[in-house]
Symmetry: C2
Subunit: 338 residues, 2 copies
């Protein structure tokens, strides 16, 4: 049946302690004994049972990542970067998808924190911090990713949302835009709130109309952008800010279908999913805000492993900055000239 450490010990004529120590290099074992142990391992085809080991040591060598939408390229790329960092450090990655559903998130949080993983990364879709907080066992290593909460109880790795939006609105204004509309993501998310308030401050500072009707919200996941656009176009907007990559591509397609040409008929600025081929075609006709997704993933990996090492370390908040690429400055997209 299953070959265990005792089988190896017996065949090698040593104790299980010695087998364990030679495998893990955790105390001195004479070369001769080592050789006997390895010989026995080879003969029996022994592989240590990861499940028993992690049960015994309490270390799972696994982290969980709770994601709102796996198939979204933004998160797909982040998952890749996280997995890359973790596997380099001997950790595994468990993925859970919430589809922006708080109940699913809560379930995943409970399951994962109940002895399945050493720590979790979460891009939370919850509005209520207390609900989130109540679901996490005390002291459990957590790093918030991309989205954070007002209450600064957990470490986080996010992207600067305010500055690029503020700047792009100012720039649109400087180019003569009269009415700038904005399509935000899910209103409850911290990222959305930051982006919307950047827009609102900028619009005010630039002396542009601050009408509530110019601020619309799309669902980050479904095809809900079209009605927002119809609404903004009916309001005679000459520039539109879109707060999220998936919605941006829908926007481009929809404007295209309506016969509107970017840069000529209407100005568009949008968060854009890093490295997406889609935008390469349009980077000369719109302002792109490119988020450092891979660094975000890598930083998330770093943070969670360091918290697992040292769960009582002070809260750490990392904010990465997005690149702002206006379309009529020399195109440096991906370092290539268009």
């Amino acid at each position: 049946m299953k070959v265990t450490i005792s089988d190896v010990a017996r065949l090698a004529g040593v104790s299980t302690a010695t087998v364990s120590h030679t495998i893990n290099n955790t105390r001195y074992v004479s070369d001769e004994t080592k050789e006997r142990v390895y010989q026995a391992i080879r003969e029996l085809g022994y592989t240590p049972d990861a499940s028993a080991r992690s049960f015994r040591t309490g270390k799972k060598q696994t982290v969980g990542f709770i994601v709102p939408d796996i198939s979204n390229k933004f998160f797909g790329t982040m998952i890749e970067a996280v997995e890359n960092y973790l596997s380099e450090h001997g950790y595994h990655l468990i993925i859970a998808n919430t589809k922006e559903d708080a109940d699913r998130e809560e379930t995943s949080l409970r399951l994962l924190t109940a002895g399945l993983v050493d720590g979790i990364l979460v891009a939370s879709t919850m509005e209520d911090f207390n609900r989130f907080d109540a679901t996490i066992p005390a002291g459990f290593p957590v790093v918030l990713v991309d989205r954070t909460f007002e209450a600064k109880k957990y470490s986080s790795v996010c992207v600067s949302n305010f500055q690029p939006i503020y700047r792009s609105v100012c720039r649109l204004s400087g180019k003569g835009a009269q009415r700038i509309g904005i399509v935000g993501g899910l209103p409850r998310l911290s990222s959305t709130k930051e982006r919307i308030s950047a827009y609102q401050e900028a619009v005010e500072d630039c002396g542009l109309p601050q009408e509530e009707s110019l601020v619309l919200y799309g669902d980050s996941m479904e095809n809900s952008v079209q009605s927002c656009l119809d609404d903004l176009l009916a309001q005679k907007c000459d520039a539109i800010v879109v707060c999220q990559g998936l919605m941006a591509s829908e926007t481009i397609i929809y404007l295209h279908q309506k016969g509107l040409q970017l840069a000529r008929d209407i100005d568009l600025v949008s968060f854009v999913d890093y490295d997406s081929n889609f935008y390469e075609l349009y980077s000369s006709q719109m302002d792109c805000i490119v988020q450092p997704v891979e660094e975000l993933g890598r930083a998330a990996g770093e943070q969670i492993l360091s918290r697992i090492e040292n769960p009582d370390a002070p809260i750490f908040e990392k904010v990465l900055t997005s690149a702002y690429r206006p379309y009529d400055s020399p195109n440096t997209w991906n370092g290539k000239k268009a």
Copy 2:
């Protein structure tokens, strides 16, 4: 510290067996006893330790998925579908990325099969079946996804590769194409081989030139398509078949940059990533082969769970069919008229 089942048993005044049985509904417990147990659980805030449980039972309730490229939308969507199916059935998903590297794949296979997961799904990048086979412990539940091997030792869930390519070549020929070039993915993959031979048979059957120089291979991951296209264009191809979604979008961009217009200057047919916004813009100018990615993921989930239930079941090969959408027939992309 940690609250264990013994703490609960002590507080409730019952045995650990009874606590276990009431939690798991695995033998009769009187209502009164149940109540005492649940009361104790609430009081202590007890959560069963998943690690101990899975060690004890030998069931991890987890499957591994070894993927060549997570950030590729094709696999991202598949991961989502798999995760969806698994979580519905109480399973977790561990993801490992190989970046089309056989060594990484081998490492992941070893790690995952050593007691971490109950079964694995793998879109293998290995050329050598024996190497793959030697890495899998005897009887370990495995389902191959998207890519298979000549030797039919493992169950698989794939997509029909031959028919759509054969048909599209015939159709190009029928429209008058004289020289059709093809850009395949990694030559070692079963999917690539099937697609290339479909092309070759069709080209022969249609009486078109069967020159070796018309068959080129791109790396599925890097930006290696451009040189292939330059080559084919220099050979005066009037139609090009591209075998993979990522390469297809690069192709569109590159042809666009060269000032070539699809459908007018050159005909393009390509496998396309399901649901990608990118193609929505081009579905009226090129032939699209749309793979049923979500069904693929769902079927993969079904197959691996049923193999875990019943590891000795006969090998099962499932082949899903892709949709072929020529561009000048009425556009039914996503059910919408363009």
